[in-house]
């Protein structure tokens, strides 16, 4: 367990510094309240509606599809780093992997999942 002590120290230090910063700004900073300042921040736009509002299921679909191709990149990076050492075997393996994902990509394009709602 000894080798984890630095990790523990870093964890405690990080927590302390973060907490200190939050409280320091609350204590030391000037405090001027205004109605506009109290509003929830919504990318600069005036907030509208409730946070519990519904939105189109298409967003979930886009998010799921994004994750799939995100994961593909996660696999591609380490593969690209050791590409030369892996040789032909690694190349063919990755080709098969990308090919299967490409079938999925053609499928979702044909089904119209990428068209804006």
């Amino acid at each position: 367990m000894e080798q984890y002590v630095p990790v523990l120290i870093a964890l405690i230090l990080g927590g302390l510094i973060a907490t200190a910063m939050v409280f320091a700004s609350a204590i030391l900073g000037p405090q001027k309240h205004a109605p506009v300042k109290e509003e929830p921040f919504e990318c600069g736009n005036p907030p509208s509606g409730s946070a519990w509002g519904r939105f189109s299921v298409k967003f979930y679909l886009a998010a799921i599809l994004f994750i799939i191709f995100d994961i593909e990149v996660v696999f591609l990076y380490p593969w690209a780093v050791v590409f030369r050492q892996l040789g032909l075997f690694g190349f063919i393996e990755m080709l098969v992997f990308v090919l299967i994902l490409a079938v999925g990509l053609v499928y979702i394009i044909k089904k119209g999942a990428l068209e804006p709602a």
Partner: protein, 482 residues
Amino acid sequence: MITPPPVNWLSLLPGLILTVTGLLILFWDLWMKPEERRLLAWLGFIGFVAAGIVSVLLWGRNESAFNGMLALDAYALFFNVIFCVVGAMTILMSVHYLETVEIQPGEYYALLLFATVGMVVMAAATDLIVIFLGLETMSIAVYVLAGMWIRRLQSSEAALKYFLLGAFASGFFLYGIALLYGATGSVQLDKIATAATTGGVSSLFLVGIALLIVGFGFKVAAAPFHVWTPDVYEGAPTTVTAFMAVGVKAAAFAAFARVFLHTFGSLHAEWEGILWVLAVLTMTVGNITALVQRNIKRMLAYSSIAHAGYLLIAMVAGRDLGGAALLYYLVAYGVMTLGAFGVVLAVGRQGEPNEEVSDYIGLGLRYPVLGAAMTVFMLSLTGVPPLVGFTGKFYIFSAAVQAGYIWLAVLGVLNSVISAYYYIRVVVNMYMYEEGGKTIEALSARPALVTAILLAAVATVFMGVFPSASISLAKESFLPPG
């Protein structure tokens, strides 16, 4: 130069065939005219048959692939054949049904094949992480399949319930793997087995085993982890229910038995108590609740819970005899349950599922072949000789008695007696009454579905009368405790 790990392509062949067929279906469907879509069913059917034949041809090999993560042994091949037969039968039953309930065939058949790939991986895996991988591949496909009947609200409900509870159960399973890794320093089954026999058993190890039981107990629908079963089985499309009741349960038992009877074989004394209680609870809850069901899919759901209980008896009995009885009973349970769901499908019609037990009144008199087939399945599920259900139960109970679990066998037999009430009630409805139910007229004969029902009926009778070939195959396939 990095040397890639040895990949034994030949041992992956059944799974590869299923994967490629699934991808082909998905791809072909995109360019297909709607009226040609029936061809997809036959492509899927060919995929299942090819994978099954390859598994038979590979019989006798004992190899491993991916650095000992997958095994190609008789045990895995035995289950491969079960999965491929279940898949092929499900397709035979689906061809016409999909049109009546307006399910997109492309995705349906592809997911059926992908789910089977997961099952194949589960049965062959010799590494806890790979078992988990197979479990998820299978489960995610089946979650979607359960919700494919979009016009029916209960179908979406079934998918959501199954998904949420299944994800939760996967969490238990993963936690168990993590604890076992902590206790033994490996996720490979043979290394865990060595650690169990040499290093002794820590409490961490035991908690890990208990969590694995929760994970597997959910997938095989053992009480008290069974609550999802009736709702999901009732809501899902009937073909998917049949696939879940037989395929998913067989796959879960494949991994369950490999891990517990083989890897944890030396720890039998540690887990037999838990499984004893689970077996009794599962049988009793399943059978007693089935007594009051009016919907036949719900009744068959509780019946499948009860049968999970009988299969757990075989797990408790353990050793060669219990293992062989487990494999044999899975086959027996498979053919009779598939047949029963086939009849449920045949009685239904577009917009009129006819799923109440009272809808079967007078059915045997009007449709003699259908009635006879249903009678065979119901009697076999009860355990009446000379049908396969009797032979299977006979092997399970005799394995339990020989291993010294006499009370367990007695409780099992008592449960079979309870189950007679609700199985025979269907037969009584079909033959002894003429009035009182609704009259189901002019059921159209659907060749594929009728073929599936007749195949299941013939197998139920044949394997019951001549059990020796299949029981010796089951004995040969079972791994001795490690």
